[in-house]
Amino acid sequence: MTLENVRFFCFAASYTTALGLYFAADRFGLPWRRLLSIGFVVAGLLAQLIYMGYRYEGGVPPLSTLFEVLLVVIASLALGFIVLEVEYPDRAFGAFLLPTIVALTVAAALVGEDRGRALPEGIWRAWVVLHATLLLIGALSVSISFLCGVMYLVQVRRLKRKELASAGWKLPSLETLERWTHTSLVIGFPLLTIGLGIGFAIALALRPGQTTLGTLADPKVVLAVLTWIVLGVVVLVHRDPKFRGRRVAYLTMIAFLLLAITTVGVEVLVPSWHQSLPGGWS
């Protein structure tokens, strides 16, 4: 078998196996769980990087399609999983990261490999790349705040039930999780704002026949604006101590779900002018 034969299935299967092994902790004992799942994620990440390398050589650069964007997000989270599991072996970060990685892999499979289109030429190429990069980092930040929000809710539930986690299933303190959620939102929201602004400008420029209203009425744009508003609300209420705690965590989760629907859901289910733009940007 040559490296060209490395397919999507290879790393998808590795990540799924890692997830299964992670939750089979009690059967294998903690050290085995960690070693095996880290091993499978390392193998999956290597396979994914080889796969992405061959796609790049085949003329599909990273971030050029939604599928490629998802691959970058998955690889980033897989790398994050490896670092966190090695650095904090008694914490259950994997219990949240691995399902997200597998869910994003499923999303990538639904989006499909063949939706790539050529990037626009000239000055717009740089703007499109900037638009995609900002949205990618913004989306990653919002994903991190979502994961921190989920961990926060799990931690609150445990503490309200007056239980402490057993070894290997511990989570950071509520104070730490709240800080991480806030930091990732504060980083992600401005990047998403600028990214969306650039995207809207590109849409107006590259679709000269369409009115501004017609561009705004697109389901993807509507959802993107809605997501932006919810995220803005989350960032604002995060500053207000009265709304701290579970409420912010729930709002962060709603914002993330809207973001997921805007990026993946619309791409798969609803026709949007966005898909007809060069590059098929999310």
Partner: protein, 427 residues
């Protein structure tokens, strides 16, 4: 050679007996030095903690071990000035592989009053260091104690025997650390309400985390001041309790009040004033100081004595579940250690007999040589004798090294057998 341990612990002897037998570090060193002076070829380590007093002995020769009318319990009791008959039935005695297994279990926390506690490992290391400093350890106890430390580390690393807090106050601190980042504790205020013993015990654990501010309040200002002075805290008036509740991030309540002092309505007002900043309440008073529904408020984490004890019991039960795995590790390492010790015990007399035999041959040959050369001066005779000794040492060095090396690998029995047969060393 023989390896044995005699001792008593929290299971075999009450504290009244243990405290009469106990040694501090200096006392333990002096005791084993006395023992070594009486029996210079013996090895000894004395392990004395609040829960056990144990004497580990490796005797010099089989003859000494089997024929000397020496009783270690008798010796220990007479050293401490206790009549042996009073306490003899409190002692246990293990020999050979059972002595090895016992020490490995002790070092791993399997024999501790609080299952899996790790403090005992430090105490075992201290006892060994004291004996080494006193010069009472040798090849047997060196191997034994090094293996005990290795076994304990393996048990701690590969099982959950030492995981989870098992005291009420440490469980309370762990709950606090799940809400607040321990690294940010310097920014937190701790409020102690009342002056109960448990409250102060919990406070002691919390102080290790370095809280920024410590407040103590009590209906009796004098008692508050007394507690505050012990912990370098601020004594604050009880009348303004709500103000302190607003300021505190962590509240330990331990009053003797017959009725709850804070109910949900009162604390909801406090939470409004503190802008719903999270708070951990450790209510270890019985009857409780905070009504149960205070814990239903958003960002309030309330734990009473039953909650803390339940968690402690869950942690202990989790440790109990790990005993089987820990014992399997200990058993395997005890067998391996005993194989090494047995070899060591067998090797030393064989090497000693070999040396005796070669010494004998050397002496005979020297006598024969000197008889044939009567003109030799004393100085010349001495030089020849010295050369013979050096020759003997060099010849014996290689087989002795090979025996030691094989002993490390645990595979040297065949070499010992061969040596015994070749040089007729069996007795």
């Amino acid at each position: 050679m023989k390896l044995a341990v005699i001792g008593c612990n929290h299971k075999s002897a009450p504290v009244e007996v243990r405290e009469r037998l106990a040694f501090d570090r200096q006392g333990a060193g002096a005791a084993i030095r006395t023992l070594a002076a009486e029996h210079p070829s013996w090895e000894a380590v004395l392990l004395s903690t609040c829960n056990r007093v144990e004497l580990y002995i490796a005797t010099g020769t089989v003859e000494e071990a089997e024929h000397l009318p020496w009783d270690p319990v008798d010796w220990l009791c007479s050293y401490r000035g206790i009549r042996t008959a009073e306490v003899r039935d409190r002692f246990y005695r293990f020999e050979g592989v059972e002595a090895v297994r016992h020490l490995l279990q002790v070092a791993s926390g399997l024999d501790s009053m609080v299952l899996g506690e790790t403090q005992i490992l430090g105490q075992v290391k201290d006892a060994y260091d004291t004996a080494r400093a006193a010069g009472t350890t040798g090849p047997i106890l060196n191997i034994l104690f090094q293996q005990a430390v290795a076994a304990a580390k393996q048990v701690h690393a590969n099982t959950g025997l030492s995981r989870g807090r098992v005291s009420v106050s440490s469980v309370a601190v762990e709950f606090a650390c799940q809400v607040f980042d321990p690294d940010q504790f310097r920014t937190k205020t701790v409020l102690l309400i009342g002056a109960g013993k448990m409250g102060e015990l919990t406070l002691r654990h919390l102080i290790d985390l370095g809280p920024g501010r410590l407040l103590v309040t009590n209906r009796s200002p004098e008692r508050a001041a007394a507690v505050a002075s012990r912990w370098e805290a601020e004594a604050v008036p009880y009348d303004a309790l709500d103000d302190w509740l607003v300021q505190a991030d962590l509240i330990i309540s331990t009053t003797a009040s017959a009725e709850p002092i804070v109910d949900r309505e009162r604390f909801a007002r406090v939470m409004e004033r503190r802008r719903w900043r999270p708070v951990v309440i450790i209510d270890i008073a019985v009857p409780r100081d905070f009504t149960d529904d205070v814990g239903d408020l958003e960002n309030v984490y309330l734990y009473n004595i039953d909650d803390l004890e339940s968690q402690r019991d869950r942690n202990l039960a989790a440790r109990e579940r790990e005993v089987g795995r820990a014992l399997a590790i200990v058993d395997q390492m005890a067998d391996e250690t005993w194989a090494r010790l047995e070899y060591q015990m067998r090797m030393a007399p064989v090497v000693s007999r070999l040396r005796e035999q070669i010494d004998q041959i050397r002496e005979e040959e020297l006598r024969r040589l000197f008889r044939g050369l009567p003109e030799l001066t004393d100085k010349e005779r001495e030089r020849i004798a010295h050369a013979f000794r050096r020759f003997e040492n060099k010849v014996l060095h290689l087989p002795a090294s090979a025996l030691r090396e094989e002993g490390q690998n645990g595979s040297g029995r065949w070499l010992l057998d061969a040596l015994e047969r070749l040089f007729h060393l069996k007795r």
